[in-house]
Structure formats: C-alpha cells, structure tokens
Symmetry: C2
Subunit: 147 residues, 2 copies
C-alpha cells in the first residue's frame, strides 16, 4: 500500500508554472498557430515568455481557454464574444485547483482500489468523508479517522 501526501506534490509543481510552446497548444486544441498569435496580439490569451527575446509560452489554463473559444466560435459567436464567454469559465480551473489543494488531504492507492480522504464531513465533523474506487466506480462513505 502506497500512502502519501498528494496535495504536497501538486503544490511543488503549480499548474501555472508548467508552460508549453505554441506548437503544443496548437496540437492539443486543433487551433492554428496563426490564430493563436493573433489572439495573443489582441490580448485574448496571455504569453508567458521567459524573456522578451524568447518564444511564446502558454499555460494549461490557456489551453482550456483556447478550447473554449474554439467551441464558441464553432457555435457561431464572434471572436470577441467567444472570448468574453470563455473568460467567465476560466475561473473554473482556479476553483477546481483550490478544491484539490484544500480537500485532497490524503490518498491511498492499492492494486485495484483507491481511497481519498476528503477531510472532515462538515455536517458531522467528527467523521471524515472518504471516496473509494472499486470496480471502476467511485463511492462515498463516512469513516472515523484513526489516531
């Protein structure tokens, strides 16, 4: 049984610190590099280049943003409104990350089962909320924390 502090690892490599090149973003999203350059020039997506001479770099968050813009464009929105709509949804990633950092206290993985300790279950704080995967399915239950 492997037992470890997963949240700690995730904090060592914040997702914002992982950047990728324009080719990687284009491949992942199916959006042409020329579009990405134009969108960047208009300030719709952010360039995280390390120096002013170096190549463009983007984050995973931008990848999601680009994917969103792409689908809104496909739905017939103009670029400007597609960007605005994508903007509102960008906060999801932040919310998601804060949830993981806040609540994934501990995680155990054995051969075929995984268990996540989600910390105190607020309606009954003496018990911990646990999630367990068996047979490809996650189920919740309450447990009294040890020690």
């Amino acid at each position: 049984m492997v037992k470890d502090d997963m949240a700690n690892l995730m904090k060592k490599i914040p997702i914002e610190s992982v950047t990728l090149g324009i080719g990687d973003v284009a491949r992942a999203t199916g959006v042409a590099q020329s579009k990405l350059r134009y969108w960047e020039s208009k300030g719709y997506i952010k360039n995280h280049a390390v120096t002013d001479k170096s190549n463009r770099k983007f984050t995973y968050k931008t990848v999601l943003q680009v994917q969103l813009i792409k689908s809104f464009l496909a739905d017939g929105y103009t670029l400007t409104s597609a960007v605005a709509r994508a903007q509102k949804r960008a906060i999801y990633l932040d919310a998601l990350r804060s949830f993981f950092e806040d609540r994934f206290a501990q995680m155990d993985v054995a051969d075929h089962t995984a268990t996540i300790d989600l910390g105190p279950f607020d309606p009954t704080p003496s018990k911990h909320l646990m999630a367990k995967r068996t047979d490809q399915q996650w189920r919740f239950y309450l447990a009294t924390p040890e020690s």
Copy 2:
C-alpha cells in the same frame, strides 16, 4: 451565475494529450535537460515525440514523475530506486483523474462562491453530495437535487 458542464471541457482536452518540450519540463522541475535525456534513454520517463525525427515531448504526468524522482534523489535514494518509488506514486494522477471524470457532475461559479455537485451521496443516495467554497474554504453538505 455561470453554469456549465466543466467535466465535459476537461474531457475534450485529456491531460495526456498536452505535451511539452524538454525545456519546459526542465524549467518546471528544475531538473537539467541532460538528466532528462539520460533518464529517457534508460526508459525511466517516456518520450511522446510525434514522429521519429521530431523533438522529445513529455506529458504533465511526466513532470510530476520527474519532480518525484528529483525529491527521492535528494533524499539519498539511488536513481534506480528513486524511479521505482516514483513509479508507485504515478498512479495517483490516474486515480485523481478518474475521480474527477466520475464524480464532477456539475460545477457552478458565482462571484465569490463555487459549488461542485459530486453526485449521489452513497449512504443516502437520494441526496447529492455538494462542495461549496465560501471565504477561501471548502465545505461539504448534502442537498436534494432539483428536478
């Protein structure tokens, strides 16, 4: 209030499909490119290059793996055993992802609160387990799903 199917977006861009260059991995982890090349040559980390002529590509999972190997090395483990130890923890990311795909039915974000519907609470399946963030803190509660 923005309301949308976030899990769906994340599924459109599986994290494994996002690849990054060796420079990006080196920057994110602080591990030298020469090390990464050597580790790859020994099969400790996987190269996802698109063609046999093109440059090395790695995934976010590899970034975590590299970070793990690095910390085990710093703890005094040999490279071989650091790799073995990192291997066991690599499944965390898969477990995390499967939890997310399985359980993040819906997510709502308003100005200062975020709410995640985690689906039926198995001890009381008629109610849904909800997570809500207020004041930078996530709390769980049960709710009767609407319609």
